[in-house]
Amino acid sequence: MSHEGRVLRGVVLAVVVLGLIAPIALGLWQTGRAAFGILPALGRDTLSLEPWRDLAALPGLATSLRLTLVTGLGSTVLSLLLATGFCAAVHARMSNATGARLLTPFLAIPHAALAVGLAFVLAPSGWIARLLAPLAGWERPPDIATVNDSWGLALMVGLMVKEVPFLLLVILSALSQIPVARQMAAGRALGYGRGIVWIKIIMPQVWPLIRLPVWVVLAYALSVVDMAIILGPSNPPTLAVALTRWFSDPDPAMILPASAGAVLQVVLVALAVALLIGAEALGKRLGRWWLRRGGRGLSAEPGLWAASAAVVALMAVGMLAMVSLLVWSLAWRWSFPQIWPESFSLKPWAGAQRGWMRALGNTLVLAGATAVLSLALAIAWLEAEDRARRSRAAWAEALIYLPLLVPQIGFLYGLNVGFLQVGLSGGIWAVIWAQALFVFPYVMIALSDPWRALDPRMIRAAAALGAGPGRRLWAVKLPVLLRPILTASAIGVAVSVAQYLPTLFMGAGRVATLTTEAVTLSSGSDRRVTGVYATLQAALPFAAYLAAALVPAWVHRNRRALSGGVT
């Protein structure tokens, strides 16, 4: 390895360990100490189990735990089943590029904006009720809790509208590495139906490729806060929402049981992932037994079509939610049960202008800074791998996924305590740092595959022509990879715009973004103003994705090898 390669590797490793891993470790450590009674800021310095006794005594804890497990595990398992069934039914009929285009709006929209839109659609006075009103004879919104229902059904629908498209994307990209058509032909020639080939042959090969993303989905669903505030049950809420409330309680002593709850949240996610690993092991044994029996099985076709129909329905509701954001932000008079507003106005936009301009400014600064920083680190990391001519070690891959698997609520409060000690809390820099913990992994994951897909012989050809490492990077790799680099940046922007908890905790409530404002407004009064914030929140990632598609198409307009296709 060259000297330069070693220096770059060292720098990247130091930045990743100190910038990304240390804050998480520090946050977990501080949270863990507080969970066992040690919080010097409150003058508590003796080890005790009191926070846990207080936690257990908090009203609604058992219900919160049940809700968390049901909505988190339920939405993940259902999403996985639906996405798998949908892929099995339509994979052969749809190109990957079409699929990616269809999924993009669902991947781009922040959880909070989608949740606000879903609340508009699902609420008793929402679009669905308005559509049904003439049939049911409703003059007034029906008295049914369709949002914030005590079962958490609305929350599960919200999670699934986001999770199914994400899993579809992950499964489609895994399928592109498998010769599906030939294996399907081979399996069917042996007398197995399409659905059975899918279950017995294709999925066992897909699973190892999607295992980590499924864990990420599970960890997220178990600890989501913004979407659970907007759509989930409110009294008692899911554990993560309850913890957020307790951490922001006016009584600072609540921090101790809240910290114990945060540790519980981490344990919960760990147990759920362990459960998934156990289910995988069991599934493997059962699957082998089933496979060896050689049964051709019944047709799985009806199940596949049911899954596909459910996916289409989820996406339709999601689309309706996105449209409703814009319509509500522009609506003026819109009485029940009219399907369409009776009059439109820009007054909500004009009235809230000062507020949303400030939030938009903060959001843009945060998104720009975190996306640029994450992209720089990702490129430095990948370039360091190239210069060392090594592939990525398993532990390095695990480091990338770590921030996505540890629940945010588990370490953000502790991290804030750490930031307070070094005087970094409450400012935009603290928020940038905290957001980057979650933006970087997605940027890194999005860029890694296209980077590795670059023909290494092309880089060797550049070296053989006398181009040193710097010129190979700037004059060959970066221009050729312009499209995936911009796509990764757009994903980074989308992730940053969607961040709620890091902004809330690290900004100490002083850094208002479109997301924090939308979540705050969603519980309140005026749908129109909420619609303004949520529309803007959704518009930013859409704009970023659009730019990521248009800029390379324009730059490479005369370069056939680079202008086509979606990466």
Binding site: R389, R460, H556, A561
Partner: protein
């Protein structure tokens, strides 16, 4: 000018040698062909000579260029040109800019650099294609452009990695003649690996067989 390999041997990450230590001399303008079935490490041998060896491989012996030991120099400092079975033109650059990429920085002046590129394009029968997208060239045009790009960099030695195997039969003869004519006229020592005896015959130089570490002929 000459390219010398001195008891060159490569061990994979598992510690096993790929082939018996190889010593050979390629004089200026000569084309030496290394033969062997696919998978014996012919490409790895070229990687080692050119300085592109992946992490994990252990190299012993020496690569000398005009008597100078270049074994530990980075690829970009060796001045050893490399041609693959694919043209591998940079897809984001025009045909002319691909050629200009390899042109040594010592040649100064926009007009003179442009003239050098245009001259090379004309020699390859690509006159007037300076601004074309490489993806729109025919297979033969691409292969000729790639050779010109490599030669413009003024290499002190040239490595050819099965350079004709992906061309169709008619084009193959034409490219062989074109390549070897340019190589011999510039007196560059050239080492080619191939599994096609026709390539070796067309090259007209000595043929070396890679042997297994035990001395068995592969």
């Amino acid at each position: 000018m000459s390219l010398d390999l001195d008891a060159l041997s490569i061990r994979a990450a598992n510690g096993l040698a790929l082939f018996a230590p190889l010593s050979l001399q390629v004089p200026a303008g000569a084309v030496v062909t290394v033969m062997g079935p696919s998978g014996v490490g012919k490409s790895t041998l070229l990687d080692a000579i050119g300085g592109h060896l992946a992490h994990g491989f252990q190299l012993s012996g020496a690569v000398r260029l005009n008597g100078r030991d270049v074994t530990h120099l980075p690829a970009e400092a060796r001045r050893i040109g490399l041609m693959f079975q694919d043209a591998l033109l940079f897809p984001h650059l025009s045909v002319g800019d691909n050629l200009a990429f390899g042109l040594p920085p010592g040649l100064r002046g926009r007009a003179r650099r442009r003239a050098a590129v245009e001259d090379a394009l004309a020699q390859a029968g690509l006159a007037g294609l300076h601004d074309r997208d490489p993806a729109t060239l025919s297979g033969g045009q691409r292969a000729r452009a790639a050779l010109m790009r490599t030669l413009l960099a003024d290499p002190a030695a040239l490595l050819l990695d099965e350079p004709f195997s992906k061309l169709d039969a008619g084009l193959r003869d034409e490219m062989r003649a074109f390549t070897f004519a340019h190589v011999t006229s510039r007196a560059v020592p050239t080492l080619m690996v191939t599994h096609d005896p026709e390539d070796a015959r067309a090259a007209g130089g000595p043929v070396v067989g890679l042997t297994s570490p035990e001395g068995r002929r592969l």
